[in-house]
């Protein structure tokens, strides 16, 4: 840990947070939070459907606010902060989604794939780069492959022109040592910056983020009050405080960040994220946090234990975007004799 080392914060409150409320953030919500984040000096504010650009769908949940309105609203309400988006090829296409988004003034594009499938990102990264955006590659569910395989995938992103690689603990499964090893491997194997995105299913999001920064990551994600999928993300205002104590400089005004978190609590979320039983299970099982809502709903419909669904999804190594498999699993479990019956 170096004295006054710079850490850049990227804030997906208005993107990951959408997972927590079925993608129902309104334009008013977006405007208000963007103003507050901008005032606090948050470097990057990420906006959109929980699964990114173009992901509004029956499969993943329909957004209340279409992409173009969300992005235009955000852009209008921020002067200093950069506007970021999360883009998953296979959901978002260049012509239909990415081009219009860039035209609306998006500054930062994070092209994301499942951790082992980085080569689907080649074209979207190339397009964004040619349009002059700041482009990052993003590897999701990164607990599912080893650190050296993660490096192999990250190197592909580097070769496509990404300026940095963020790896995500999408299911909140990592221990701090897991994060440290991965950041170390990436920092030593890549010529570009490394970032980390944590989730709090096992109560370790802050500790994991600190481990990442200590090992050389220079971009860390955090959400106001932890507003995000499942048990929530790394709680941003807490992270800012922790980094200040550890002598990392984020450039964020502490009081204004607290104000933004208060605003988020009062206006964006239905409840403050906590680690519910199902979230502990999904963290243990290594299943994508964004599955919490559909699993809970479908478990009720089929009268099966949601915890069983999560462990089965984990066993099958189901990846983000495969919500339809939840139905299949629930159906299968429903057909099995109930536990405790003779």
């Amino acid at each position: 840990m170096n004295p006054t080392q710079e850490i850049r914060i990227s804030d997906p409150t208005l993107r990951d947070g959408n997972h927590a409320i079925g993608h129902q953030l309104s334009a008013e919500n977006i405007a208000a939070y963007c103003k507050a984040a901008d005032a606090a000096g948050v470097p990057i504010v990420e906006v959109g459907h929980g699964n990114g650009l173009g992901a509004s769908s029956l499969q993943l949940g329909e957004a209340k606010t279409p992409d173009h309105i969300a992005l235009a609203t955000a852009r209008e309400n921020m002067n200093r902060s950069k506007l970021g988006i999360h883009v998953i090829p296979g959901f978002a296409t260049i012509e239909r989604d990415l081009k219009p988004a860039l035209a609306l003034g998006v500054d930062v594009v994070r092209v994301a794939s499942h951790c082992s499938e980085a080569d689907i990102c080649e074209r979207h990264i190339g397009f964004s780069r040619n349009e002059g955006a700041e482009v990052w590659g993003c590897l999701m569910m990164s607990h599912m492959i080893s650190p050296s395989m993660l490096l192999e995938q990250a190197r592909k992103l580097e070769s496509y022109g990404a300026e940095g690689v963020v790896f995500m603990d999408s299911s909140g499964h990592f221990m701090p040592e897991d994060v440290r090893v991965r950041v170390d491997t990436l920092v030593n194997g890549l010529g570009i910056a490394v970032g980390f995105h944590g989730h709090n299913n096992l109560g370790l999001a802050i500790a994991n983020s600190v481990a990442a920064a200590d090992a050389g990551a220079t971009l860390i994600d955090g959400c106001a009050r932890g507003f995000g999928a499942g048990a929530g993300n790394t709680q941003l205002e807490v992270l800012v405080a922790v980094f200040e104590r550890l002598k990392y400089s984020t450039g964020i005004d502490f009081y204004k960040m607290l104000d933004a978190a208060d605003l988020a609590e009062q206006t964006l979320m239905k409840e403050i994220p906590t680690i519910k039983s199902v979230s502990v299970v999904s963290g243990m099982a290594g299943v994508f946090s964004g599955f919490m809502k559909p699993v809970t709903r479908i478990a009720k419909e089929f009268d099966v234990d949601p915890r069983d669904i999560f462990f089965e999804l984990g066993r099958r190594k189901i990846v983000a975007g495969q919500e339809d498999i939840i139905l299949e699993v629930a159906k299968q479990l429903a057909q099995q004799p109930k536990k405790g019956n003779p």
Partner: protein
């Protein structure tokens, strides 16, 4: 020599396959099994590729001259499968039309009519160029079509396909956008839905997963009974040429939308059976070619 006389002397129609990658080679093997088709030329760019080696081992004439081989040897085929790329197909299509060949386009070029055999076989028989849409399209369009036929006011259809990571090579990965657009266009065309959306997921799980496709539809007053009946007819039709096609869930109404889940297990002719995505589009293409062949051969034997 009179063309009809030549055909009369044959029991099979000759096909050429341009594109010696996985799709072309799998087609080659399927052609070999067909009672109505035989391969007159297997055309690629790299004579030492595994596809070419396979063709040679089967005694099929090979060429690395691309479309020129057909220009220089027009009798080598009556039907052409183009499994190259959209860009190349734009070049090939007018040339093949000029040579009066029936073309089955496996690329996203989509110059000709979209072909889904269980749905619009009859319409395609009059066309000189048909396009096989996409793997997700072949899996979902029969369902989308059934929905369009049996439901009033189809507002929106969404199709999510999951394929195993190992069945998706660099060509698939670099063309996701084309896949999405072509599938969405196909869904709209065959269902009459106001809006469509296609999503593709790659699943890296081992052992490899079979191709699985979920069709969601938003309609006014869903009629599941009617849909179930129509769907089971269509599925029987699809299974004639894609034996591994199976409905594994639905049709049901869940969370205010119609849901149908389809799984496709491949025949394992060239790639392993989990690559049902490859198989379904190829089986559909072969079904199309065999229908052309049967109609042509029947016409010749009757008409003369």
């Amino acid at each position: 020599m009179n063309r009809d006389a030549v055909i009369q002397a044959k029991e099979k129609l000759r096909v050429a396959i341009i594109g010696s990658g996985n799709i072309g080679t799998d087609l080659l093997i399927k052609v070999g099994r067909s009672p109505h088709l035989e391969c007159g030329a297997f055309i690629g760019r790299n004579l030492s590729s595994s596809g070419m080696m396979k063709a040679l081992s089967l005694g099929v004439p090979v060429s690395a001259e691309g479309i020129n081989h057909i220009i220089n040897n027009p009798d080598c085929c009556d039907i052409v499968f183009d499994a190259t790329s959209a860009k190349s197909h734009f070049e090939h299509a007018p040339i093949l039309r000029g040579l009066n060949k029936r073309v089955i386009d496996m690329t996203p070029a989509k110059i000709g009519l979209m072909s889904v055999p269980s749905v619009n076989m009859a319409d395609c028989l009059n066309e000189f160029n048909v396009n096989m849409v996409t793997c997700g399209g072949q899996a979902s369009i029969p369902v989308a079509y059934a929905i369009g036929q049996t439901q009033s006011d189809v507002d929106y259809i969404e199709v999510v396909s999951s394929i195993s990571s190992r069945s998706a090579g660099p060509a698939t990965r670099q063309n996701l956008d084309e896949y999405i657009k072509t599938t969405e266009d196909g869904l709209k065309e065959f269902s009459g839905a106001r809006r469509t959306k296609a999503i593709l997921n790659l699943n890296p799980a081992e052992p490899c997963v079979d191709m699985q496709t979920t069709i969601f539809a938003k309609v006014k007053d869903p009629d599941i009974l009617k849909l179930t009946e129509r769907l089971s007819e269509l599925v029987k039709s699809v299974c004639k040429y894609v034996p591994g096609y199976e409905i594994i869930l639905g049709p049901i109404v869940e969370n205010d939308r119609i849901v149908v889940m389809v799984r496709v297990r491949g025949l394992g002719d060239y790639l392993p059976a989990y690559a049902g995505n490859l198989d379904i589009i190829n089986c559909a293409a072969i079904a199309m070619a065999e229908e052309y062949a049967q109609v042509t051969l029947n016409a010749v034997s009757k008409g003369n």
